[in-house]
């Protein structure tokens, strides 16, 4: 029990539950089937990105270029399909987009391993290059009529629920299956492979990892390549979900993702983090942006609420650490032992 209380995941799950209850009591629309379906649908993209970001942060790195990778990959594939008039199976779109992402991510990884610069700076640079490439070389613009195979996929649903009271219905896209797939594969890699343990190891102490025999540059290249491939697939997912290809659709999502996983207990300094935490963080932020509408709060307050949550959430932890630092934790005095007679105490 004590162990559970010490875990960040517990507190964020509690916050999610509390928020749910508040929304339920004020709007009566939280614990309803169609709200859950809407939430699940909104969680697909940030959820997948967050498990990747978790991996990057655990390794002690950071990546802010993945939205650019997503957008470039998806735009290149959709545009390519449009030009060639591709009519084959749709999964080729995801594989292609993933491969482009993998390639772009690998560039990040190689630069990080080779230049040994802070990866924030590297990915700020490459992200800008990727975006510029899409807008300049590919001359990106909105594609509102998707190629047939993708357009068909965006109308494929797992199920639909109806809300008789509001007279609305919500459908869950088949794309949802990618989220548990991504989460599960990251969880397995992180927990059950030496590679995954190596990611924790380099995030914990990179010099110890070298001495232990981990191939640190390869691990770095792996995490960035993985993030890239994931971002590529997410890009196509986004296209499918929105039914159009809007080349700026994911701009700024890197900050939301990083904020989510940090709220979910992933340490920005590396070495600590779980898939559960990352998903809970993503869920919390998705809930806020989705449900403030249910509370009748204008949507521009979403960013404000997100910011407050981050500052408060991180602030509490930091403040506790600060307080602990100025207090003697071990009971040196052993105050419950019998008091010393006064004569002895005044010895000095």
């Amino acid at each position: 029990m004590k162990k559970i209380l010490r875990r960040n995941e517990f507190y964020i799950a509690l916050t999610i539950l509390l928020l749910g209850i508040i929304i339920q009591t004020t709007s009566g629309q939280f614990f309803t089937a169609n709200n859950f379906v809407d939430l699940a649908r909104s969680l697909i993209v940030p959820g997948m990105l967050c498990v990747g970001v978790m991996m990057i942060l655990v390794s002690g790195n950071i990546d802010v270029s993945f939205p650019a990778i997503s957008m470039l990959s998806m735009y290149a594939v959709v545009k390519g399909f449009e030009i060639t008039g591709y009519q084959g199976p749709v999964f080729a779109a995801f594989i292609l987009s993933g491969l482009i992402g993998l390639f772009l991510g690998a560039i990040n990884g190689i630069l990080a391993a080779w230049l040994k610069l802070p990866t924030l700076i590297i990915t700020l640079g490459t992200g800008s290059v990727y975006l510029g490439f899409m807008q300049g070389v590919l001359k990106s613009s909105v594609i509102s009529v998707l190629p047939k195979p993708i357009a068909n996929l965006s109308k494929a649903y797992l199920f639909t629920v109806h809300n008789a009271e509001l007279g609305v219905s919500s459908s869950l896209s088949v794309m949802f299956v990618l989220l548990p797939l991504a989460a599960l594969s990251v969880a397995l890699i992180m927990r059950y492979t030496m590679l995954g343990r190596g990611i924790y190891a380099i995030g914990g102490d990179i010099i110890s990892a070298q001495r232990a025999g981990f191939r640190v540059p390869w691990i770095q290249i792996f995490v960035f390549s993985f993030m890239g491939a994931l971002a590529g697939v997410v890009g196509m997912t986004r296209v499918t979900l929105t039914g159009m290809c809007q080349p700026t659709t994911l701009i700024g999502i890197e900050m939301t993702c990083i904020a989510s996983v940090v709220l979910g207990g992933v340490r920005i300094t590396g070495g600590h983090g779980t898939v559960t935490g990352a998903l809970l963080g993503a869920l919390l932020l998705t809930m806020i942006s989705n449900s403030l509408i249910l509370l009748g709060i204008p949507s521009y307050w979403t960013k404000f609420a997100t910011g407050v949550l981050i500052v408060v959430g991180i602030g509490i932890t930091a403040y506790q650490a600060l307080r602990a630092d100025r207090r003697v934790m071990a009971n040196i005095l052993q105050s419950d032992a019998k008091p010393i007679p006064n004569g002895e105490r005044d010895h000095a």
Binding site: G203, D205, A212, G271, I332, R345, D346, A348
Partner: protein, 502 residues
């Protein structure tokens, strides 16, 4: 020879024209505990790195099990059963005990997948083997230094280790923990494992080692049986000079002139009823075991903890010390226990480090007066005999002793009225240690500032403090003049509380 495990002959290693190792020879027998001593820059780290395969030597032969090698690679050294436990232990703070013990071994065996039951099994077996027990699922960052070290040892024996090299393993341990470590070391010895033990502490050499070797300036100075050594010889071998410290007895103590006084200090969980006064000319020593409250007291005097009750007087005037800023305003200076994290800006220059404590005084029209800054820094480098190449060199390039002198210089620049030194010579080579002691005595004789040395180094306190307070469980349990005591009797009084408990 059946009994010899490792034989090094005429080993040399050159770094950019400097002979870090100069024709060093050394023999380690099976099941032998061999102590390697030497000051910073003596070549002991280089020797360790050559033996463990990190460096390729320029000349010499390493013989292991009768087979000769010109040099070893890291994997080769591991295959031959050589393991190094570094001072920082090379552990992963974010992972569990079980994983820390088993992971490197699994990696070494080219495992691709992790079997958690296997990891726990390996870790448990290894701990049983050396007779220790630490919760397998605990994160290593939550362990004490001593337990972290035991984790590192448990990890190292997995590779059929036959020679374990420990780099200053006792520097951060309490006496009880040292005993526990030594039990493990003897257990390994009884199984025929050899230990190369890097240490500066003479009493440890006596206690545990069969043989000892001293290096100085890359040269072998002596190899002998541990029983043939005494304190005087040991210091001479290490430093090349004959140093004898007399007991510090001030010529005059001006009892009328109280520089610093505290009455009835109380800190929740930390200490209570702490009262003492320092008069002009005195050096006050406060000693106690790790966890006795000595560090808490030192920190509280500098405002790093806020005392809950009691009063503090500087030059007879009552002052409120709640934060370090208060302490600095009342000209209290604090040389911390851990200079690397608390005392220095490691990547900044020697000059910047020396002037940072009184940078405001060096401002002229809102800008830094560079000339006065240089002059200030040069003054302290000269007065404290800090060995430095250039004023602009990052301070992390200096040896431990010179870094510590710089910390001292930094504070003396503020012309403090109270100087609190917490473990002033931890990790400092013997030569610099005596330099620092001599300097403190000189300062005390000027009778301008109250000096408090808080230390667990018995001989340091005994020789340099004319008055000694012993602290145990947060209370002062005794006060003595240093001339009443010798090392043995002081040690006895310091450990009295612990013995009672056991």
């Amino acid at each position: 020879m059946q009994n010899t495990l490792l034989k090094i002959e005429n080993l040399s290693k050159v770094f950019g024209g400097v002979r870090a190792l100069d024709a060093v020879s050394l023999t380690i027998n099976k099941g032998e505990i061999h102590c390697l001593a030497g000051e910073n820059g003596s070549g002991k780290s280089t020797l360790i790195k050559v033996v463990s395969g990190f460096y390729k030597p320029e000349g010499g032969v390493i013989t292991i099990d009768g087979k000769q090698y010109g040099s070893l690679s890291i994997t080769n050294a591991i295959r031959l059963g050589i393991q190094v436990i570094y001072q920082d232990f090379s552990i992963f703070p974010n992972l569990t005990v079980a994983e820390n013990i088993a992971m490197n071994y699994e990696l070494y065996n080219r495992k691709k997948l992790v079997s958690w039951s296997k990891v726990r099994e390996i870790a448990q077996e290894s701990m049983n083997h050396i007779g220790i027990s630490i919760p397998l699922e605990e994160k290593v960052e939550n362990l004490s230094v001593a337990d972290k070290q035991l984790v590192a040892i448990a990890r190292s024996i997995l590779y059929n280790a036959r020679l374990i090299i420990m780099d200053e393993p006792t520097s951060a341990l309490t006496r009880k923990e040292v005993d526990k470590l030594f039990r493990v070391v003897r257990q390994l010895q009884s199984e025929g494992v050899s230990i190369l033990f890097v240490s500066h502490k003479l009493d440890e050499v006596f206690e545990i080692a069969d043989k000892f070797t001293v290096l100085r300036n890359g040269k072998l100075i002596v190899t002998d049986d541990a029983q043939n050594i005494d304190s005087e010889k040991f210091i001479y071998y290490m430093t090349g000079r004959k140093i004898e410290e007399e007991y510090y007895v001030p010529e005059v103590i001006d009892q009328e002139h109280t520089l610093f006084e505290v009455r009835n200090l109380y800190l929740k969980n930390g200490f209570e009823g702490i009262s003492f006064a320092i008069h002009a000319g005195e050096i006050l020593g406060i000693t106690g075991l790790l966890g006795s409250g000595r560090t808490e007291l030192a920190k509280a005097l500098f405002g790093l903890y806020t005392i809950d009750m009691g009063s503090i007087y500087v030059d007879g005037e009552e002052v409120q010390i709640k934060t370090p800023q208060d302490a600095i305003r009342h000209r209290i200076a604090y040389v911390p226990e851990d200079r690397l994290t608390e005392g220095l800006f490691l990547s900044q220059s020697v000059k910047n480090n020396l002037v940072v404590s009184h940078i405001d005084a060096l401002l002229r029209w809102g800008r830094l007066d560079r000339r006065r800054m240089d002059a200030q820094a040069a003054k302290w480098i000269d007065e404290l005999a800090i060995k430095v190449h250039k004023l602009e060199d990052p301070i992390q390039t200096l040896s431990g002793g010179n870094q510590q002198k710089a910390v001292l210089g930094k504070w003396l620049g503020t012309s403090p009225r109270v100087l609190i030194l917490n473990g002033p010579t931890v990790g400092v080579d013997i030569g610099s240690k005596f330099d620092i002691h001599a300097f403190l005595r000189e300062l005390a004789a000027r009778a301008e500032m109250a000096i408090i040395i808080i230390s667990d180094d018995i001989s340091e306190v005994l020789k340099n403090c004319n008055r000694i307070l012993i602290i145990d469980k947060g209370r002062i349990t005794g006060e003595y003049a240093n001339t009443e005591l010798n090392e043995h009797s002081l040690m006895q009084r310091v450990t009295a509380g612990e013995v009672e408990e056991a």
